[in-house]
Structures are given as C-alpha cells and as structure tokens.
C-alpha cells in the first residue's frame, strides 16, 4: 500500500511527469483553440461545396458536393436568380486598385519619412504630431465631402470622377501620410547616419543617397508596410462603396457586401464560395510572409 502511494508521490513530483502532463494538457487546450479558430473556415468551405443554397440545410460534410456555387459565382449558371455577379471582375478590380494604391502610397510614405528622419526643419515635430492626430478623426462623415470632391473632379476631368478606379485610388492616397510614416521613420532612424555621410563625401545628392544607399536597406519595412497597406485597401468597403456604383467597377468587398444585402440565408452557398476565393490571396500573403509580418508587428510593440 505504502509502496504504491510512494510510487505515486514520486511520479507526481517527478519533473519529467509534470512536464509531460503539462504539455499534454496544453496540447488539448491547443486543439480546442484551433477548433475555435478554424471552425468558421471549415464551415465556409463545406458550404461552398454544398449544392443546396440555403443556410438552413447545411451540414459539415455536404451530402452532395458540387461546384455549383463556384459556377454561379462566375456567372456560369444562367438560371441563378441572384445572377448579378461578376466575381472575376471584382477580384481583378480589387487587386488592381489595391496594388496601384499600395505602390504609390509606399512611394509617398517612404520619401516623406526620409525627410522627417534625415532633415531638420521648422515645424517638423508639429507636423509629425499633427499627422497622428488627424488620423484619429472619425472620417466617416468626411464621406460627404469626399463624395462631393470626387464628383466635382469628375465634372472637370471625367477619368478621375465618380465610379472610376483612378478617383478611388486618389482618395486612398489621401491616407498615405498616416501612421505608416511613423513606422517608416522609426525604421530609418535605426539606420546609422554614417551611411548617408559616406555618400555625401562622394558628392551624392539627397536623392542618390536615398535611392542607392537607403532604399535597399529599407526592404523589410517596405514589405511590412506594403502588405499592411495592401490588405487594408483590399478590405475597404466604405469608400469604395460610396464612390463606385457600376457593378462592373465594384471591388470584391463592395460586390460581396452588396450581394449579401438581402435574402442572405438564400445566398449562403455562393457567398461562401466567394468569401473563400476572396480571402485566399490575403491568406496566402500572410502565410508566405508570416515571419516578416510578425517581426514587424512585434518590433512595433517593443519599440512602442
């Protein structure tokens, strides 16, 4: 009797057992958490292959799996009653608009951050502070003003007016003087000035220093800011929805949101297919660049 108790006591206090028990327990918790985080995705995948449309008749493993929902998404089912879908165009528009605005806004952000990091001028600190404060203004109502602005542009120069991608991109560029300048400037500040000075000794201009010496070093932060800005633009539906009104010009998020607006429970399957395909590019970016993004995020955290 006492032997067993003794063995038990030994086992309980043994480091190895404790360790195993704790790891095992944590693995169980990890499974529960993984279930919580992937269940909605599994459900969406299942719904997208379910030929029945309705939300009410879905089960996790579809009884009759089919590609009907994907066909409908791409307008291949002429009998579909919510047939106002041009998914491939929406996806293309989203990638186009987000891609162009990301590249242009990276250019603006990086150059401005260079000036803030490397030059000293009157109003520099005030401007940096102002940029932060301006960006917390709840700009939802600014929609009225932005709408009117873009409308008026369009009256004078139609290619940047309402319902054009160029107009939308211009509006997105308004946000490029934002918090990203701080991120970029913070990164630039960590690059030693000796590099600039070696360039100056050789008689390089500011632009040459920026372009030839600093830009290659900025690559990691360019990736992080670029990805954040691409994802942000890709996910926007408020501005795009106000400025675009032609179904062929919609971005993916606007298209999906308007598609699900009425009789949602009847459109569940097609929405699931569209959501999955729409999320895929962003998920891919995340997983490919996982380490850089996590690095960028945590660096921001540690630096404050």
């Amino acid at each position: 009797m006492s032997n067993i108790a003794h063995t038990y006591e030994n086992l309980r206090t043994s480091k190895k057992f404790q360790r195993r028990f704790s790891v095992g327990l944590r693995l169980v918790i990890a499974l529960l958490l993984i279930f919580f985080s992937i269940f909605p995705i599994l459900w969406i995948i299942s719904a997208s292959f379910n030929s029945s449309q309705s939300l009410s008749t879905q089960s996790l493993i579809p009884p009759r799996p089919s590609l009907t929902n994907y066909e409908r998404l791409f307008g291949l089912d002429p009998n579909y009653r919510f047939g106002d879908l041009v998914y491939q165009k929406w996806l293309f528009n989203s990638v186009k608009v987000s891609g162009i605005s990301t590249i242009l806004s990276l250019a603006i952000t990086t150059m401005a951050a260079y000036a803030f990091s490397r030059m000293r001028f009157k109003g520099r600190i005030a401007m940096l502070k102002a940029i932060l404060l301006i960006n917390v203004f709840p700009n939802l109502l600014a929609l009225v003003a932005i709408y009117v602005l873009v409308f008026q542009f369009g009256e004078l120069i139609p290619i940047i007016g309402l319902n054009t991608h160029a107009g939308l991109i211009l509006v997105y560029l308004g946000g490029s003087m934002g918090l990203n300048i701080w991120l970029m400037k913070g990164f630039l500040d960590t690059i030693p000035r000796d590099i600039d000075e070696s360039g100056m000794v050789d008689g390089a201009s500011h632009f040459q220093i920026f372009w030839n010496l600093l830009l290659p070093l900025l690559r990691p932060i360019l990736v992080v800011i670029g990805v954040i800005s691409f994802i942000g633009t890709y996910g926007d539906f408020i501005l795009a929805r106000i400025l675009l009104n032609d179904v062929n010009k919609y971005t993916l998020m606007v298209g999906l949101q308007i598609f699900t607006a009425g009789q949602f429970d009847q459109k569940w399957g097609v929405f699931a297919a569209g959501a999955l395909l729409g999320a895929l590019p962003i998920m891919t970016i995340y997983y490919v660049l996982q380490d850089q993004i996590v690095g960028g995020l945590t660096q921001g955290a540690v630096k404050g």
């Binding site: 308004g174 000075e197 955290a301 404050g304």
Partner: protein
C-alpha cells in the same frame, strides 16, 4: 530656421549644390503645373465649385512655395503626400467642423437664396377681393379649363399652367355664346353642368394660370378669385410677413418662425452656433438613446480589448516554451482569423449566428433545447458582437504578446524562482508589468480603433435591434460612429441630419483625440521625436 540643415553640418561635408540643368527642369515643371492648375481652376469657377477652387488654390500656392524656395527643400520630399492629405483628409475635416455648426440636413438642404423664391412663390386664396363668376370645362384627358367673367363683364379663358387670356365667344377654338354669354363649347373640352362642377372634388384644388404670374382658383360654386402672394420677405428686418393674416415670421436658425412657433417650409442652411452640441446634451428626444449608445460605446471597446488581450496573452504564455511540440503548426492555425479580410469574417459570422438557420443555434438547440436570438435580442446581440470580436482580435494579441514575452530577460524569472515565488506571483509581478509597458500603447490603439469600429457593427447587425421609442433611427448595438452614419445617410424616413451627425463626430473626435494624446504622453512618443537625432 533658414536653411534645411543636416544633423552634423559643421564637421561633415554638405550635399552638392543643385546642378543648373536640374534647376531648369524644376522650373519648367512648376510652370507646367501652374498652367494646369490655372486651367482647372478656371473650369471649376465656371462650374461654381467655389470650395474646390479654394482648396486647390491653397495646394497650388503651397506647391509653388515648396518647389521655388530653397529653404523649403525638405518639403519637396512630401509635397504630394501633403497635397493628398489636405485634399482628402484636412478639407473633409474642415467641412465636417463647419457643418457641425449649421442645421444642414433634410428641410435645410437649400441655401437661403434658393429657398426664398420657393417661399415667395406660395399663394393663398383671399376671402374677399376681386372675384369672377366661372364655368368649368373638362377634357377627355381630365384637364380642366375655366371660363371667367369679371364684374365689369370682361371674359377670360384660363387653363392650368398657361397664361390667362382675354377671350370672346366666337374666337378661334371657342364656340358661340349661349343666352348667358358663355360659350357652349371649347375645342377639346366638354362643358360641365353647374351641378357636376359644384360637386367636382378636383376642381377646387386646381390653380388656373401661370405659376408665379396671375393665378385663379375656385372659391365657391359661384365665385373664383385671384390668388395672392402669401409671403412677403423684408430684407431689412430679415422677416417674412404672412399677407393673409399679418403674422410676422422671424429668421430663426434657418427657419422662418413666428413667436408662437409656426414655421414656413422650406427652411434653409444657416449657421446655428452650438445648437447641435446643445441638442446632443439636453434634447430629451435624443437623450434617451444617446445615454444607451454612449454606455455601450464604452463597454464595447473595453470588452473587446480585455477579452482579446486576455485570450491572446494566455495562449502566448501557454506556448512560450521554445521546445513545445508542434509550436509552429499551432501558431499557423491560431492566426487564421487574423488572415481573413474582416468583411468576409463578419458576414460569415452573421450567417453562423443566424437565429433561425445558423449552425451555432443548431448545436445549441440540440444541446439545450433552446438558443439565444442573436440578432433580435438586445443583450444577446451584444454578446454575439463580443464573440465575433474575440475571434477576429485574439490572434493579433497572441502574436504581439509572443514577441514581447521573448524580450523579457529570463534571469528575472530565475531570480524570482529562487526567492520562492509561485507561478502566479511571477506572472503578476514580472510578466504582466513588463508586458504592459511594451503592449500598452497597442492596447490603447486597439481601444481607439474599436471605439469607432463602424465596420463590425454595420456589417454584422447594422446597429440593431432598434431601441423602442427612439425618435431617431437608433439601435441597441449602435456605437456613436454608426449612429452618426445613420443620422447622416440612413434617415429611415426621419430626415437626414448632417449638422447633428457632424457635431457628434466632433465629440467622438474629442474623446478619441484625448485618449490618443494621453497614449503618446504615456509612452513618451513625443520625446522620442525630439531626442532622436
């Protein structure tokens, strides 16, 4: 400060002077730019886009100064960014602030210059005064015409929307007179007998004659009378006088109002001072829903940040061992919610939490026989939102906390263990304080973001379920920002109120701005700016 100076200009060589070629190109570009701006402004002026002209003018002057003055050199690196910032961020903010002090909204969409002609066009039928005897004619199409005889015996033909013309029986298109001097026929029309005419319900409402000119309306079976201008505007006193009874209407916040509260429509845009802000505080109609909305507006971000941070931190601590099995795979799975675009996740959850058909309620009904009504019950709607927010938000804090945990030196833990600290004590006195220093600013940023998280509220539930008895379109899960959106864009038949919506926006900005300023003070971010050379 005169010249853009470098950090250590005295000991180090300066940048080379700008070569003449580059200078020439710069000046040519400025001239081209100015030419384009002049063209644009001319066209904008012709179209009456005064505000656009003002904003563009400011930006153009700024560009010229920046690219012409050598001491503005650093700004050349951000000129385009500044231009876009002014155009699409600063100007809209200025516009919002201006609107917050006006009554802009339904009933006050017009300018005073546009509204006055509409007011002065209104007419009334005097009880006494010049009258006519009348005979009605009706066309197949339902149009009417009147044959009028004034006390002097002159005769006229009147049709709606056309000038009243003197006419005589036997004129072209007019038939011969009967024994009373009234034509028996008018071309295209049928004469109505007096009894039919007297009981015709349409007839009394029709204004015959050209609007804005002489118009005549039927007053009684025997009489028709000339309508008179109802309101006369007096520019000197900025009042309107009702010609029918002499009431004086004063211009009160863009509505002509009498002393006893009668008003004239339409109103017009006017600066109303701090009235919108006062309404926000004291108006009883607004106060009911507002108190609820504000309370929820603090609970929602607090709950969101608290839960997402707690779960993220717990997971980070749990898997912090460097040799934990499957660590990388677990992390990849756990950050899935972070990688899905929010709009898609939110709509997805809307489907899953559908009260009737959603998968969650299927399970719950199987387990407990009953399930909450996520979308129609105020309490459960809030719970549902927090669950969705938890799912959306915890991976972010998991990633952040994992990084921050690794930056805590392990000697601290070793020392504490030697001193006999329990694991809770180690967490409470080492992990948490050090972590909060690193993560604190992000917690505040997350709070600010969720304070104005329009997207999730709007996409998930549109602020519903509605608050019973509210005079505006307010819902139980509305945040101020989504309430503002509804006031401004989705009136629900109650009239859009840009003025009030803008005022609330500014109040939201003051709250969020204060939190932000506090954050930067708290994290010494300002100091970093000035010290960092």
């Amino acid at each position: 400060m005169s010249q853009a100076t470098f950090v250590r200009p005295k000991t180090k060589p300066k940048i080379m002077e700008e070569p003449p070629m580059s200078k020439l190109i710069r000046i040519i570009l400025i001239i081209l730019f100015d030419a384009a701006v002049v063209w644009f402004i001319q066209n904008a002026l012709a179209s009456g886009f005064d505000q656009l002209v003002a904003v563009l003018g400011i930006i153009a002057v700024m560009f010229n100064l920046i690219y012409l003055l050598p001491q503005a050199y650093p700004f050349r690196w951000m000129a385009f960014g500044l231009g876009f910032l002014i155009l699409f961020t600063v100007y809209p903010i200025a516009f919002t602030i201006y609107v917050a002090f006006t009554n802009y909204g339904d009933g006050h969409l017009l300018t005073k210059e546009q509204a006055l002609p509409l007011i002065e066009k209104q007419t009334f039928l005097p009880e006494t005064g010049k009258s006519y005897s009348w005979t009605a004619f009706k066309a197949e199409s339902g149009d009417y015409a009147l044959w009028l005889i004034n006390p002097e015996g002159e005769t006229f033909l009147a049709k709606p929307g056309e000038e009243i013309i003197p006419a005589k029986p036997g004129d072209p298109g007019v038939g011969d007179a009967d024994n009373k001097g009234i034509p028996a026929t008018i071309e295209g029309y049928q004469r109505l007998n007096p009894l039919l005419a007297a009981t015709d319900k349409n007839l009394v409402n029709i204004k015959f004659g050209l609007e804005g000119g002489q118009t005549i309306q039927v007053r009684s079976p025997s009489e028709a009378a000339e309508l008179q201008i109802l309101f006369k505007y007096d520019e000197a006193t900025d009042t309107v006088v009702d010609q029918s009874n002499g009431d004086v209407y004063e211009n009160k916040f863009g509505t002509f109002t009498t002393k006893d509260g009668k008003t004239i429509k339409p109103g017009f845009r006017a600066v109303v001072g701090i009235k919108n802000f006062q309404d926000f505080v004291v108006s009883p109609a607004l106060r009911g829903p507002l108190a609820q909305i504000i309370t929820w507006n603090f609970i929602f971000p607090t709950g969101t940040v608290l839960f997402t941070f707690a779960l993220g931190l717990a997971i980070a601590i749990m898997f912090n061992d460097s040799d934990f099995p499957f660590k990388k795979i677990i992390r990849s799975f756990l950050i899935i919610p972070y990688t899905v675009p929010a709009l898609i996740s939110i709509i997805m959850w809307r489907g899953m939490l559908n009260s009737e058909f959603g998968v969650i309620n299927y399970f719950l009904r199987d387990l407990f026989g009953t399930a909450p009504r996520w979308t129609t019950d105020a309490f459960w709607a809030k719970v549902a939102l927090l669950i969705v927010q938890l799912w959306l938000g915890y991976p972010y804090f998991f990633l952040i906390c994992s990084g921050a945990l690794q930056s805590i030196p392990s000697e601290l833990y070793e020392a504490a263990t030697i001193d006999g600290a329990t694991s809770w004590q180690r967490f409470r006195h080492i992990t948490l304080p050090l972590l909060l220093v690193a993560v604190g600013p992000l917690l505040i940023a997350s709070y600010v973001h969720n304070f104005n998280n329009f997207g999730v509220i709007y996409l998930f539930i549109q602020g519903g379920p509605p608050i019973a008895g509210a005079t505006t379109n307010a819902g139980h899960t509305d945040l101020l920002i989504s309430y503002v959106y509804k006031l401004a864009f989705e009136s629900g038949g109650r009239g859009v109120q840009y003025g009030l919506a803008s005022a609330i926006s500014i109040i939201v900005f003051l709250i969020v701005g204060a939190i932000t300023l506090f954050q930067y003070r708290f994290t010494n971010m300002w100091e970093e700016v000035s010290e960092n050379v």
